[in-house]
């Protein structure tokens, strides 16, 4: 029983990271109709800057460096949108997907080029003290991650679904030209939204890597799991993405725990993706894919 609880807690903890990633992916998809495959790489790059530059070289206190890394992630998001994805957005799905693949390769390899292939353990703004309850325990870091997910998820949900800003994002995604005609600051809203997405990638990177070692490609595997959850909501629904992420995390953890096979999780992700796409979402997959001209 307590072992089951252990696995569930561990699953929720990794699911929280998936949720952070899928929130970022959904937010970027909502504004640009682009599935950002480079999301994990953006998070990893910001995390490297956090560990080697802000904490390591400049010697900033961890909370300050943490905020600084979020800024790096946001700047990265803005750069990617302005210089790379934005210009080819209208060229179709092949162009945008291949572009994000290119960005993924460049960012992943730049980290190795700049900081070498070491895989250090990075610091967290939360302590690693364990709080015990009911035969299991969670670290403060894991609780803090959960709080971040809840706050960010709720905040963005309100922002996207209850405010004029969210409606503006929807309008821009559907028809940027018309959005501009009715007086929306299209460029600024696009930029701000990508900055939020980039910062959330950095957040997910720093929180995830603290639990693991700083491996260049690990966050992209996290991204694959997050995409399953994001697909569940058609890249549109934040609550479904978060719920799906937690479900994926728990099933991942249970499978690895009971089947005692580290790779089985990825097989489950693939199977879950097929089930989600072919059973739950059949016929609805093209509903949101329209992108009109600027």
């Amino acid at each position: 029983m307590s072992q089951l609880l252990n696995y569930v807690v561990a699953g929720l903890s990794i699911g929280a990271i998936y949720a952070l990633m899928s929130i970022g992916v959904v937010v970027i998809y909502r504004i640009s109709r682009v599935v950002n495959l480079a999301h994990g790489a953006m998070g990893i790059f910001a995390t490297f800057v956090f560990h080697y530059e802000l904490v390591g070289r400049l010697g900033l206190p961890v909370p300050v460096a943490f905020v600084g890394a979020l800024g790096v992630g946001a700047a990265l998001g803005v750069f990617v949108e302005r210089a790379l994805v934005g210009p080819v957005r209208r060229d179709g799905i092949l162009a945008t997907l291949v572009m994000t693949v290119g960005i993924l390769l460049v960012l992943t390899e730049l980290t190795v080029q700049f900081w070498g292939p070491d895989q250090p353990v990075i610091r967290s703004i939360f302590s690693d003290r364990t709080i015990r309850f009911a035969g299991t325990g969670v670290t403060v870091h894991q609780l803090g991650t959960a709080v971040f997910v809840a706050a960010l998820g709720a905040g963005l949900y309100v922002l996207l679904n209850r405010t004029r800003y969210g409606r503006a994002i929807e309008a821009i995604a559907m028809d940027p030209g018309a959005a501009r005609i009715v007086g929306l600051p299209v460029r600024r809203i696009t930029t701000v939204t990508w900055a939020i997405g980039g910062a959330s990638a950095a957040l997910a990177g720093m929180l995830y890597i603290h639990l693991n070692t700083l491996e260049q490609f690990s966050l992209t595997f996290v991204l694959i799991s997050s995409l399953v959850a994001a697909v569940l909501g058609g890249f549109n629904s934040l609550p479904l993405a978060v719920a799906g992420s937690l479900a994926v995390g728990v099933s991942f953890s249970l499978a690895q725990g009971y089947l005692n096979d580290p790779g089985i999780g990825d097989l489950i992700v693939f199977a879950a993706l097929l089930v989600v796409l072919l059973v739950f979402r059949s016929g609805k997959t093209t509903a949101l894919d329209t992108v009109s001209e600027f």
């Binding site: 790379l84 060229d91 799905i93 290119g102 390899e109 694959i224 399953v228 097929l274 796409l277």
Partner: protein
Amino acid sequence: MKARLRSRLPVLAAGLVAVAFPFVTSPGKHFYAVLAVIYSLVALSLVVLTGWTGQISLGHAAFLGLGVYAGQRFLHAGVPFPVVLVIVGLASAALSLVLAVPSLRLRGVYLAIVTLAFGAACERYIFKLGFLRGQLASTVGRPSFFGISTASDRNLYLVALAVLVVALAAVANLRRSDLGRVFLAVRDAEDAATALGVNLARSKVTAFAISAAMAATAGVFYAVLFQATPAPSQFGVLQSLFLLALPVVGGLENPAGAVVGGTLFAFAQPVCNAFGLRLFLVTGLLVIFVVLSRSDGLTGLVRRFVKGFGDAVHGEARARYGSFVPESAAASNGAPHPRVRLDAPLPAGSCLVVRLAASSGGVS
């Protein structure tokens, strides 16, 4: 006949260079030549699948890996090399059903995500199963191919080159066949193709099968070249993205683009090492450049330049071609421009006879 000969000239020249290459270079370079052929085969498989049929595969390294591991098993069992190529190709075509069946219901980015997850599952789980690779690497011998020993890299290169030439010829003929036209129709307008009675399921499954078989064939050569079975991470997600970059940089719609991309990246490895750069970094930069340039890879860039030069000479309006050109821009290209030249002023009441000559390789 003369125009036909002229359009074949670059192909003939490239073939001559490819055959002569191992006889005029040092044996150290033969390794990269074999790698170039392997990469070209994989890139060619993606040209058929992604360039023509429009199904984006982000998990193609899985088929390469299957070729490596399954090929090693069969070669160890003493099956002749050519038979192994056929068996592994068929097995890989069968495995491709895992992706082809979802592709019947999914489009665009959803299918891409499925292939990505497929690649991850293969890397982390399937390739680690005992009957495929297991935890330990095993050695692969250099079998003879129809009596030709492949012990030296040069002979292996010539054998691989022969397989590539067969594949190139098959693919070039495929493009001109009914099925090739159906592939393009599926890519450009699935609904319209269905309305015209195209069997969507059959064409997609065929495209996946052809593509997977070619990639796995390349995998067998990969195993023979390295004489070992590399770790599954060599055929993982990152490698899949790299493999997609080969035809993207070379030219996704053109078999020549696959050869250009494959050769470029095979020989880029030592060059990158010499400059202390990471190969995948250069790959990513090239991909970004190609997508931003909106041309069909390097071959598309060259063709666009040649065409633009010709149009400038002839005073034609600018036209845009390639996979990354939005439909609206391609639509404004309009009909092929007939060139009418009058040698003398027309006498009144004369009958004008216009002969239209289709320019080679221009408009499909």
